[in-house]
Symmetry: C2
């Protein structure tokens, strides 16, 4: 039985708890929250605490709080020789207070409130200070996910930057597409199949091979007419210009 | 029996031909190609021609050539009172020579050589000069696709610009993500689940509701560390800055 205690109970912690909850190899020992009255936990047998002195030893402490609170929160754990991990893509392992054994347990996924996640397909990136701890992290990762990767802090940072491009920025381009449709009384749902195909394509072709469109084929007539179309919206126009130029320059290097 | 003749035989024409080929309601009458010796057609009974004077009347002529050749190619059709359509997202109906009845048959999808397309899920945007022709276009559209939309030239242009954002530009962001992974010895496949989830999310949530990440939550510490991480690549850094700034300004308007 691996005893897990959560520090913090936001989106990530809730989704992880849900995934671990009914597994016989896992015991959720405690959840540390700021205000025990406000937290809604699915299982009444889990002990909710809000006083650092109430923490009892566990096999893993999972800190799931905002990035800039990780250092401070980890320093508040008054126990010694515990495995303390955070769940962040962008915070280095050494940001965790060094009075315990440190590690990272980073599920690479976008967590949206209210939308349940199927962890099986989500890669978990793990890292630890000591190799024995890596085994514990591997064990709990394999319980919830089919994909465990051992990734160091520098690689995790690269991965996080890449994830911002393929998730946050891609979603923002969806939003731009949706606004253009709305402004012209065209249902955004027409673009659904295209969006799905674009995402699915890269499983079999590299993005470089998949690239199509006016920028790629240097179709200046179409590019100019699109830039003209976006005249009333300088933000969209700047994004169009920068990405088009960048795709064209990219082509040159090949 | 609806008789279809293709003018041009690139990616789009080949995929459309494939979709129409074995339908009993359709007869592929002729395919006009520049060089009949070079064209490989799946069905030997289809007549290949490369001389404009050999064109015989049909119910629809589908011009599937590059955008800037549409006007010239349509003027070469020496027959009269024929329905002539193009397949382009960005060319207005009136760019087709006016000595025939004009229309548009635009399958909104990304066509990649060698990757077969399932037309059933692909929206077809149709437009015609005369309402009787709209019926013919609806008929052939419904044979291959579950989704037919009547869209005018201005709306089609908006849709095409939106498609550039959600397909061409999104794919380019995938490429940036893939390059960042490669440079840091991280397998790009780690990001596959995230990419799939990002695309699938917008079927149930609007892109605005789906937005997460450091730009959205104005996490300046992470943003600065990412910009710093991209220091060696000014193109990626400019794109990161512009999209981050734009997401943040977008948040302000709400």
């Amino acid at each position: 039985m691996i005893k897990i205690t959560f520090i913090g109970y936001g989106n990530v912690a809730q989704q992880l708890l849900q995934a671990f909850l009914h597994n016989p190899a896992i015991k959720i020992q405690q959840i540390f929250v700021r205000d025990t009255a406000k937290a809604k936990v699915l299982d009444a047998t889990i002990e909710l605490i809000s006083d650092w002195s109430q923490l009892t030893p566990a096999d893993i402490f999972i800190i799931a709080v905002s990035d800039d609170a990780i250092t401070e929160v980890s320093a508040n754990i008054q126990l010694k020789n515990q495995l303390v991990v955070h769940t962040s893509g962008s915070v280095a392992l050494d940001q965790i207070s060094n009075h315990n054994r440190r590690g990272v347990f980073y599920p690479l996924q976008t967590f949206t409130k209210g939308k349940e996640i199927d962890f099986a397909a989500i890669p978990i990136c793990i890292e630890s200070e000591f190799s024995a701890d890596l085994e514990i992290l591997q064990k709990i990762s394999k319980i919830i996910s089919d994909k465990t990767f051992i990734i160091n802090s520098q690689q995790r940072k690269a991965l996080h930057v890449a994830a911002v491009f393929v998730n946050n920025f891609v979603n923002y381009l969806y939003q731009i597409g949706s606004e253009i449709c709305q402004e012209n009384q065209v249902p955004f749902s027409i673009l659904e199949a295209l969006i799905a195909e674009t995402a699915s394509k890269i499983k079999t072709l590299s993005p470089l091979e998949s690239q199509t469109g006016p920028a790629k084929r240097k179709d200046h007539q179409t590019i100019d007419s699109h830039i003209d179309f976006l005249n009333a919206d300088s933000t969209k126009q700047s994004i169009y210009k920068l990405l088009t130029q960048s795709i064209q320059e990219n082509g040159k290097e090949l």
